[in-house]
């Protein structure tokens, strides 16, 4: 056997052909799927807690939401002739987040409609992942709020006492209408609020650990922060958006939130509504937030300011959803204004 033949034989394993591509030939182990599924995993603990707080219905509504988002993603990609990417977890994440921002007592039909609007119109008609300029989950919520205003503002479930998580199954489906803390504060004032929810440390603790009416995503600030900290630790999100956003809400609520200036309750403003969910999971969505650090800070301050404005002066009790949606399309503009700093300007100064 000649040398050449020998060589050919050796190189014939496994396929006889070598790959040729441009550098780098080495890539990190991170991937879009890994990021998405990690965020989904971070949202699991608050979801499980919500089952204990509100009953099994939260799990049902989340399942409906996730399944419909994945199904709509599959259908959209098939219909538009694009590669199907349902395994990357981004539709699952949208489904989770959508379920987290709607009242758990609504009809299961609502998340299905929201999924169609969020995934098909809000994401795939705009070009698919990476090209949607509104946060899909919040877009779904905004769509529902506009279409079913009554259900979306009244189908709250009161926290179930004594951990009777299956009590829902025994009762007929009558979503006991109850008002969320921010709605009570807005419509009935601080006195009524204190009567219903208490005050002081008790209030903060019960809000922080999730014992109050609201969306799934509003229940446990504690578990949401924990998940957010894990995402920070993994480097999937940076501190810029959560810190600037929560900081802005806290400061502005303190200044303008009370009877006079500087008498607001910053802690309450952060613990109520969707501030924590928004700061760690919604506003940090890669696609719809700026990429540059400075732009991130400006973006988050904008969201914080708009949130407080809507909470205090607007028609809705909670404003973070619209605040984020309003800032979303500005992301690319902000990226253009606050560009990363170059290594060094050319000779003779920057152009």
């Amino acid at each position: 056997m000649s040398k050449q033949q020998e060589l050919d034989d050796q190189s014939a394993a496994p396929a006889g052909l070598w790959k040729v591509s441009t550098s780098p030939h080495l890539k990190s182990s991170e991937s879009v799927e890994k990021i998405m599924w990690t965020v989904v995993a971070c949202l699991a603990p608050p979801l499980i807690l919500s089952v204990f707080v509100f009953g099994i219905q939260t799990l049902l509504i989340t399942a409906v939401s996730v399944i419909s988002c994945v199904a709509v993603e599959w259908l959209s990609q098939k219909a538009l002739g694009r590669p199907v990417t349902i395994k990357d977890g981004s539709a699952v994440l949208t489904g989770m987040l959508l379920a987290f921002v709607i009242p758990p007592g609504v009809s299961p039909l609502l998340p299905i409609l929201a999924a169609v609007f969020a995934i098909y119109i809000g994401k795939h008609l705009l070009g698919g992942i990476g090209y949607n300029f509104f946060n899909p989950a919040l877009l779904g919520r905004a769509f529902l709020l506009a279409s079913f205003p009554v259900a979306m503002t009244s189908a709250w479930l009161p926290p179930v006492k004594n951990l009777a998580i299956f009590s829902f199954l025994n009762r007929s489906i009558d979503a006991v209408s109850t008002a969320t803390p921010l709605a009570v504060m807005k419509e009935k004032g601080m006195v009524a609020f204190t009567e219903i929810f208490g005050s002081g440390t008790d209030l903060y603790t019960s809000f922080f650990f999730g014992w109050r009416p609201g969306c799934i995503g509003e229940t446990s600030g504690f578990l949401l922060v924990l998940g957010g900290l894990y995402l920070l630790y993994r480097g999937y999100i940076t501190w810029h958006i959560p810190v600037s956003l929560l900081g802005t809400i806290g400061v502005l609520s303190w200044i303008f939130g009370g009877q006079g200036y500087m008498t607001g309750d910053p802690l309450l403003s952060l613990l109520s509504g969707g501030a924590i969910l928004g700061a760690f999971y919604m506003a940090t969505d890669y696609v719809t937030s700026p990429s540059n650090k400075t732009a991130k800070i400006v973006f988050a301050i904008g969201i914080g300011a708009l949130t407080v404005l809507i909470r205090l002066k607007g028609g809705y009790p909670e404003g973070i959803c619209y605040a984020i949606l309003l800032m979303n399309p500005l992301s690319t503009v902000l990226d253009g204004w606050f560009k990363p700093k170059r290594f060094a300007p050319p000779l003779g100064g920057a152009k």
């Binding site: 020998e6 591509s21 550098s23 030939h25 080495l26 990429s291």
Partner: protein
């Protein structure tokens, strides 16, 4: 602990994979039967052959030179007979003019004697560097005699030798610094004399403590007209990039689109310093070099001293053949090297490594749409915007990519390394460079 020197912005920490070869001494590979010498090994005009077909030549004989334009001569690595003047497979340009040399095994090896250089003047030293065929053998391939003659309007005060070797797998410079420490330091002193300066820093990443020790020893004692200092660098890619290395060691920032001489610095690779020593002290032209052969796809990884022109297939034969699962052959490091498709490719003066990578060592995932996570912005050591360049190139708008910094990109691949969507960002940049308009 004293904080280690590094560049502040961007950079990545890929796995090092150096354990395979870092403990292996430099091994002299037996000369194969035939060598393939590519005529254009450097940046500039390719050499014109100075020998004819069937001509018998001796070891170190001149076989090609550049008559007009930028370039350095090419020499025969061994005695032999010119078999052909034709074309060779080239790692990047696919095909390139070359000289095929049939090795004469009868001829005795040339013995080089040490010659005093201290009393030669800078011009004579520079001529020897040129005549020795010296180019930047760390990878760039820029003719060294040109680099050592910086423009008169930007005086140079510092020489930096690059011993960072930040690319994964490669250990050739590491071994050279261990085994040729004295030669490298003497090479540095020659460069100092050519440049008429006194200060030299040798930057080495701290994952090579033995090399740092050996080089520190070799650099002593420091004389008043030639101070050679070893500087320990943090392990971070791309630490060995010229601009990043200069910033880490001197704190100076080379302006965009400018050369290091703009901030008074000349950078040479440690391997080039060794080649300069050979060319000046031994009068031995550059015709062999140390390369790292590594990866799971080769029988026996090694640091080899090979003749320029040695074909890949001879190296494979010598090192125990290809292993099953081999998926990609890379000339150079895994971050900036070129994948080759044939074992006929010869080693050139700028080859620092040949990697035989198996399927589990390389990335084969298909890329997907940009999710604008911005990780590439954090990884880019130049402060550019790879994601924007990629998006524009994908949309067919390469011409508008200049504001995002395409021409400042030196293609280190940090952006593509961190990209979770596995986007070929370096490829996008290369496409953009072809179509975008260069700033004047």
């Amino acid at each position: 602990m004293k904080s280690l020197l590094t560049f502040p912005k961007g950079g990545i920490h890929p796995p090092e994979f150096k354990t395979q070869t870092q403990g292996l001494g430099i091994e002299i590979m037996p000369v194969p039967d035939e060598l393939e010498l590519i005529l254009g090994q450097h940046i500039g005009a390719p050499c014109q052959p100075t020998v004819g077909k069937r001509e018998e030549i001796g070891e170190g004989a001149l076989i090609g030179e550049v008559k007009k334009g930028l370039g350095v001569p090419l020499h025969a690595p061994v005695a032999g007979k010119i078999k052909d003047i034709g074309n060779s497979v080239h790692p990047v340009r696919v095909s390139a003019p070359s000289i095929t040399l049939t090795v004469n095994r009868e001829a005795a090896a040339v013995r080089y004697e040490r010659q005093a250089w201290q009393n030669l003047d800078a011009a004579e030293l520079l001529t020897r560097v040129h005549d020795g065929g010296i180019i930047g053998i760390g990878g760039a391939g820029f003719p060294t005699h040109v680099k050592l003659k910086p423009p008169a309007n930007s005086p140079v005060d510092t020489l930096i030798l690059n011993g960072a070797e930040c690319e994964p797998y490669i250990t050739a410079d590491h071994r050279a610094m261990l085994e040729y420490s004295a030669e490298i330091v003497e090479g540095a002193k020659i460069i100092l004399k050519i440049l008429g300066i006194k200060e030299c820093h040798i930057g080495i990443e701290n994952n090579k403590p033995d090399a740092i020790l050996a080089m520190t020893k070799a650099a002593e004692p420091s004389s008043p007209d030639a101070s050679v200092k070893i500087r320990t660098l943090q392990v971070k890619y791309p630490q060995g990039s010229e601009k990043q290395l200069i910033q880490a060691i001197t704190g100076r920032k080379v302006p965009a689109m400018a050369l290091p001489s703009a901030v008074g610095v000349v950078v040479q690779n440690v391997a080039t310093a060794k080649a300069i020593y050979d060319a000046v002290v031994l009068r031995k032209p550059l015709y062999e070099k140390v390369i790292t052969v590594a990866g799971k796809g080769i029988g026996r990884p090694a640091n080899l001293l090979v003749k320029i022109g040695t074909k890949l297939k001879d190296i494979v034969d010598y090192l125990g053949g290809l292993q099953p699962g081999l998926s990609k052959i890379v000339f150079g490091g895994p971050m900036m090297g070129f994948a080759v498709s044939s074992l006929e490719v010869p080693v050139t003066k700028t080859t620092s490594a040949v990697l035989f990578l198996t399927k589990d060592e390389i990335d084969t995932k298909p890329h997907s749409q940009c999710i604008r996570c911005g990780w590439c912005l954090d990884a880019c050591p130049m402060g550019l915007e790879p994601k924007e360049i990629g998006l524009h190139v994908e949309a067919g708008r390469s011409e508008v990519t200049e504001p995002f910094g395409v021409f400042e990109c030196f293609e280190c691949g940090s952006c593509a390394y961190v990209c979770p969507a596995k986007r070929p960002l370096v490829q996008f940049v290369r496409l953009a460079k072809m179509k975008a308009k260069r700033p004047q």
